[in-house]
């Protein structure tokens, strides 16, 4: 278990370094003069002159040599001093911490609902082969072909426009959480319900499972005693594989539903070329990714302690 955690900590360091270096390169390689660009985004396009640009240049220390700035950049990063937004002037760390909470909420509810849907459908189609199984196969193939934002758009059109029972976008009440969660959960469950189904089939056809039935346990008892634990290990491991999809889905869904999370912040910051915020958001996404992965690892370890490595 310690090797697991050590591996994840190593990964965390790589995330911080990777994001820091990339955003540093980004900072240096922006087309046009940095100072003018930032001045324009602060004071508006019309009121930029060389004096305003010079003030910005002085304030942000934009004329140091690249290795000085790089060292400076990384030390700041290690101290979690993410600087201030170039546009709003607010400290990035506050904004990003605030957003991270919303994203974690969305990620957890999304994964939770995806698991509920996938397990229900997967187990059902494993036990009842035939038409039902085929129907779900087609449905999941169809859903899998759609990018998550298309699923989101369809949900908006159905539940917010055609049949207005839920808000289109925004944040506040629990109703705002329903559509984003559902969009994320559907796109995840479209793949994972087949994994649940295949693993359930594998377990209920296994000799130990049939032996449990032969020795006299009722179907329910057999499933609870011998089925659940064996099915859950590969399924949870697969949720770990899907975490990439979760993070990518969060970026898309938050932008679509104006959910005030990291993904929304990242897309906005890229559009506004607000580099400290880009860095903060990318960093938080990386950290969220590693943390979720660690949770999955620990869960797998807890269910099956026989030492599943990596």
């Amino acid at each position: 278990m310690w090797t697991l955690i050590k591996h994840r900590i190593f990964q965390l360091i790589l995330v911080v370094w990777g994001v820091g270096t990339l955003t540093f390169v980004l900072m240096r390689n922006l087309p046009g003069d940095m100072a003018y660009r930032i001045a324009a985004s602060r004071y508006g396009q019309d009121s930029v002159d060389s004096a305003a640009a010079e003030i910005v240049r002085q304030e942000l220390g934009l004329d140091a040599s690249w290795w000085q700035s790089y060292a400076h950049w990384l030390t700041d990063l290690v101290q979690f001093n993410l600087g201030k937004s170039l546009v709003s002037g607010l400290p990035v760390i506050d904004t990003v911490q605030h957003q991270l909470g919303h994203s974690v909420l969305l990620a957890f509810t999304g994964v939770l609902f995806a698991s509920l849907i996938a397990i229900a459908i997967g187990v059902l189609s494993a036990f009842r082969q035939g038409a039902l199984d085929h129907g779900f196969l087609w449905l999941s193939t169809l859903l899998r072909s759609m990018p998550v934002f298309v699923i989101g758009l369809m949900l908006i059109l159905i539940f917010a426009v055609a049949w207005p029972i839920l808000p289109v976008a925004g944040f506040g009440t629990w109703q705002h959480l329903v559509l984003p969660t559902l969009a994320l959960a559907l796109s995840l469950a479209a793949v994972s319900n087949r994994v649940v189904r295949n693993n359930t089939l594998k377990v209920i056809r296994a000799p130990f499972y049939q032996f449990a039935a032969i020795k006299g346990l009722s179907p329910t008892q057999t499933f609870i005693q011998h089925g659940i634990r064996n099915i859950s290990v590969p399924v949870i491991a697969f949720i770990g594989i899907q975490l990439v999809t979760v993070i990518e889905g969060i970026v898309m869904i938050e932008s679509l539903f104006s959910w005030p999370g990291i993904g929304h912040g990242l897309a906005h910051a890229i559009f506004a070329r607000d580099i400290p915020v880009i860095q903060g958001c990318a960093l938080m996404m990386g950290i969220l990714f590693v943390l979720l992965n660690t949770c999955v690892d620990l869960l797998c370890h807890w269910i099956d302690p026989r030492g599943a490595q990596s």
């Binding site: 190593f10 990964q11 965390l12 790589l14 995330v15 370094w17 990777g18 994001v19 990339l22 955003t23 390169v25 980004l26 390689n29 922006l30 087309p31 199984d133 085929h134 196969l137 193939t141 169809l142 899998r144 072909s145 759609m146 990018p147 934002f149 298309v150 758009l153 059109l157 426009v161 793949v191 087949r194 994994v195 295949n198 975490l243 990439v244 993070i247 990518e248 970026v251 898309m252 932008s255 679509l256 990242l266 897309a267 890229i270 559009f271 070329r273 880009i278 990318a282 996404m285 990386g286 990714f289 590693v290």
Partner: protein, 266 residues
């Protein structure tokens, strides 16, 4: 190799080739250009002049969709080709040589896997916005790792097989050994990876377009088109549906081509 494909994979190939053929002939034959505006003919329903209607600037939807599909194909083709070549060659060489190179590659792969692909691509898109070349480089950078890991793992097992060792002892060169022993074992997995890679490249480009940091207007791109046309869903739902169907069909085609790895129903 076509002969070994299963029936649904053949359907996938047919679907993709058909789409590509239709899209590129429409781009060639269409009397309109993707940027030709006609503000008096906005949001028209499908008609004899505009087979799929027109968008909010009166641009011909058929031409724009066809051009967007073509763009998606071009991008995913180059992404798959580059990342597969790079990943497979590095994977095979690393497995074969081992040593320092393996250690170095481990570090690189760990860095790339530590960040979700889309975030990496978004960062690159932030460096140079709206550039197809950078998009291609970024997607390739995130995708080659898969080919690398798979071909390295497979090669590792074959390197020690008696058949390969015998070939070496009989004096056959590395290229012959690769072609005779390693490549045949790799093809199946690589075809699967390439199909998913093609689908993912299209999805990534559409996602970037959708959050408005990908290809810039007036170029036609499926994700960008869906977000541009969304405000008009009430007046002209048919034009919003078109890019969405196009994306779904493309991805569906690639998934069919990949074969049912997770489904394995029968």
């Amino acid at each position: 190799m076509i002969l070994q494909l299963k029936i649904n994979q053949k359907v996938g190939v047919g679907l993709l080739l058909g789409l590509l053929l239709v899209a590129s002939s429409i781009v060639q034959l269409s009397p309109y250009h993707i940027a030709d505006q006609d503000l008096s003919g906005r949001l028209l329903a499908p008609s004899a002049e505009h087979w799929l209607g027109t968008d909010h600037f009166g641009r011909d939807m058929l031409t724009r969709i066809a051009s967007a599909i073509q763009l998606s194909f071009v991008l995913s083709f180059f992404c798959v080709l580059t990342s597969a070549t790079l990943g497979v060659s590095l994977g095979v060489i690393t497995a074969w040589k081992g040593g320092r190179m393996a250690l170095g590659m481990d570090v690189i792969v760990n860095i790339l896997l530590a960040l979700p692909g889309l975030v990496l691509v978004l960062l690159f898109a932030a460096i140079v916005p709206g550039s197809l070349l950078v998009l291609y480089l970024a997607i390739t950078l995130t995708q080659w790792v898969e080919y690398f890991r798979v071909s390295r793992a497979i090669t590792n097992t074959i390197i020690n097989s008696p058949a390969r060792q015998l070939s070496q002892m009989m004096g056959f060169g590395p290229w012959y050994q690769f072609r005779r022993h390693i490549w045949p074992e790799l093809t199946h997995s690589i075809l699967t990876l390439a199909s998913f890679g093609g689908a993912n490249a299209i999805l990534t480009m559409a996602s970037l377009g959708f959050v408005y940091v990908g290809i810039q207007p007036p170029l036609a791109e499926l994700g960008l088109m869906s977000v541009e046309l969304f405000p008009y869903y009430a007046q002209a739902p048919w034009i919003l549906v078109q890019p969405l169907i196009a994306i779904a069909t493309l991805v569906f085609g690639f998934h069919l081509l990949a074969g049912n790895k997770h489904d394995g129903a029968h």
